[in-house]
Symmetry: C2
Subunit: 416 residues, 2 copies
């Protein structure tokens, strides 16, 4: 049992939080003898943040290729480096990403990458919660489709064995996976009660090309083949019409918006958050990979999300601090079907203690505003996931070894 004493609790007065096993069992004026007592006099307790779209292992490529046109970036830099990836590189890269996320108050990430069993192993060892999908491409080839479906089914079963990890099927996007591939993905997700992690309408080109090929928009087509459901987490979702957003809302699709990546890769417009809110789409946010971000700091991501909306739609009241905070907590908990995202009795004990004396949070007129518009990862003092302390005094035990490994592996990947 852990007793967190005298914490400032979001939306509440100061109080104590009692954790038993992996749950918050009481919040308020509790007196209890616990094995572990955390004095939270100058700390605030907030729910762990959810990063709803990542390719975690790509921290290996942080800073490797920036300021380039998308096509050139992929062809000359990212793909050649990714071609050299192996299980070991993905394992260590993911470990670094998990530690970066945990130290930054992120207790859950939704990942899509290669070697998904390695991703799951790294995440499990770090004690972070995650939903992990193996990226799946069939490039409109029947044999590749069958081969991939087999592999994905095997990996979903494997991933399910890790207690903190949810499995997902990860068909990449409509320009890399056939409609048959998408349909089969949805069937596997249904069969194993898994989620679906997918890139939707990131660029205008994707949308225009699809319509030219199929004579109908992406969303309508995906709806017709039964791909849209509450299992689906649709990353990006930028180039959508209002009527398409309405369909997503009806089908209870979850959206994972990635503002920093959208800006850096120049997707050409801002996601239509206002319409999504109106129609009731479940709206989450994520960092995307460190190759296009270039960090995994969810405090910054909340800031970019709010500022991009305000600026692009010319309305300073759009996406208020409270709303954007929900996109990184409650909304995501709903998307991933976890009883979490709040500091309240009965919720999973995924708790972040932030230092209220960190200068970014002083003087402290409004905690939510400070968290969204000013905080960064360095405000995080202690992180508890599933009832276990994983970060203490801003430190993750053993991080030095991971840093050294990743430096060496990353250098090797981009050599020659």
């Amino acid at each position: 049992m852990i007793l967190i004493r005298n914490a400032r609790i979001l939306g509440k007065e100061k109080g104590n939080i009692l954790v038993e096993d992996n749950k918050i069992v009481a919040v308020g004026d509790i007196v209890d003898k616990s094995d572990v007592v955390i004095d939270a006099e100058n700390l605030a307790a907030i729910p762990g943040l959810f990063n709803s779209h990542t390719h975690a292992a790509m921290v290996l490529f942080r800073g490797y290729a920036d300021d380039m046109k998308l096509h050139e970036w992929l062809q000359k830099k990212i793909w050649p480096a990714e071609a050299k990836l192996n299980a070991k590189a993905v394992y260590w890269g993911t470990k670094l990403a998990c530690i970066e996320m945990l130290k930054g108050g992120t207790t859950f990430f939704n990942d899509m990458y290669f070697f998904s069993e390695e991703v799951a192993r790294a995440a499990s060892e770090c004690g972070i919660r995650a939903c992990i999908a193996s990226a799946f491409f069939d490039f409109f080839n029947k044999d590749l489709l069958e081969e991939n479906i087999k592999r994905v089914e095997k990996e979903v079963k494997e991933i399910k064995k890790n207690p903190l990890i949810l499995p997902a099927v990860g068909p990449h996007a409509v320009y890399t996976v056939s409609l048959e591939g998408l349909k089969r993905s949805a069937e596997i997700a249904e069969k194993y009660d898994a989620l679906i992690h997918f890139h939707l309408a990131e660029t205008e080109k994707e949308v225009v090309d699809f319509k030219r090929k199929h004579g109908e928009g992406i969303v309508k087509t995906l709806d017709n083949i039964g791909f849209l459901s509450e299992r689906l987490v649709a990353a990006h979702s930028v180039w959508l019409e209002k009527n398409e957003i309405e369909i997503l809302a009806k089908r209870k699709v979850n959206v994972a918006h990635c503002p920093t990546s959208n800006m850096k890769l120049c997707v050409g417009k801002a996601i239509d958050y206002r319409s999504m809110r109106e129609f009731g789409v479940n709206f989450c946010i994520g960092t995307d990979s460190a190759a296009s971000n270039n960090n995994l700091d969810m405090f910054e991501e909340m800031r970019f999300a709010a500022l991009l909306q305000k600026f692009y739609y010319n309305d300073p009241t759009l996406m208020k601090a409270e709303e954007v905070f929900d996109t990184a907590t409650k909304n995501a908990a709903k998307a991933f079907r976890l009883n979490a995202g709040e500091i309240a009795e009965g919720k999973l004990a995924d708790i972040v203690l932030v230092n209220l004396d960190n200068l970014n949070l002083v003087p402290g007129h409004n905690l939510i505003s400070d968290l969204v518009y000013s905080a960064n990862s360095s405000c995080v003092e202690t992180v508890i996931v599933d009832g276990k302390i994983v970060v203490e005094n801003g430190y993750f035990e053993g991080e030095e070894e991971v840093v050294e490994k990743v430096k060496k592996i990353a250098l090797d990947l981009v050599k020659g």
Copy 2:
């Protein structure tokens, strides 16, 4: 003397840096007996960052009022709170801001606010370099003009006495200061060899209103009255035509771009950096105040600058990492006429040591990319200003007292 041993130096190999008095006297393979030796084995030495537009004491209002329309924000929140400001509040508020900036690797700030002597005192005590202007409004009133001119002249003389502080005259903007007031400001600046700190073309309304009133654009008019010169640091400079940018370049005006503030306050478009670069305008960046930012982290500001340009002008190659880094170092050093902004022999010893094992900088493919696209204030380990160590192990001696004072003062300011 300080010897920094074995630092990674931007654009160079690893090497030693020797500091004597307030200057870098040697860089390279120096062996020397110094009073102080810093082992920089896992650190990179970068020039201190310049924050070219702030209202530092407004950290008092961090998080106090967000997500509001500009007019309502000013009238209902900021102005009533500012009306209660006094010398003590500005002194302590500025101290907090200086510590936040120093801990974030910023060794110089260009400030405009009330009680400028208090700002200068706070900055001097913190050991940060600054250019400090007293905000000057005449609201088109002759008496107010004369009164302000007298005050400003006195303050400029006073501020000049602080060795680390450059004085500036701070006529606020064309909608709060008469043309006569601007002309007289320029004359005082000339007389005392001071800079001019001014808000230019921040919103479309400012530009349209001015043209309606004067029949001519702001830049042309200011040029006619001799207001434009290399003494001028023009904050924002968003709503400018190409021909106006050309005039600014000819007159050697320095621009201080504030991307985060521009996004948060919804100024409606992004600064035309490409034209400024083409015409050769000296381009700097700043955070603006913590009321509209909401932190003073120049690493983040570099990131927002680069990402806003790329996104708005739909070109991922626009404002490359190296260029944005210059806006926060070399370019600003030029604007403020300081022999600084680089780690090189003969330069002022304003040096920041960043921790290369900070996860945001790992694996470390490209230091400049990592600093611009991934770093935050927590990457900073040691800060030297004018040859003196002011931040050590990420800690500023005495910061706790300042935090306590500011919490109390800020709460009082917004009460009732």
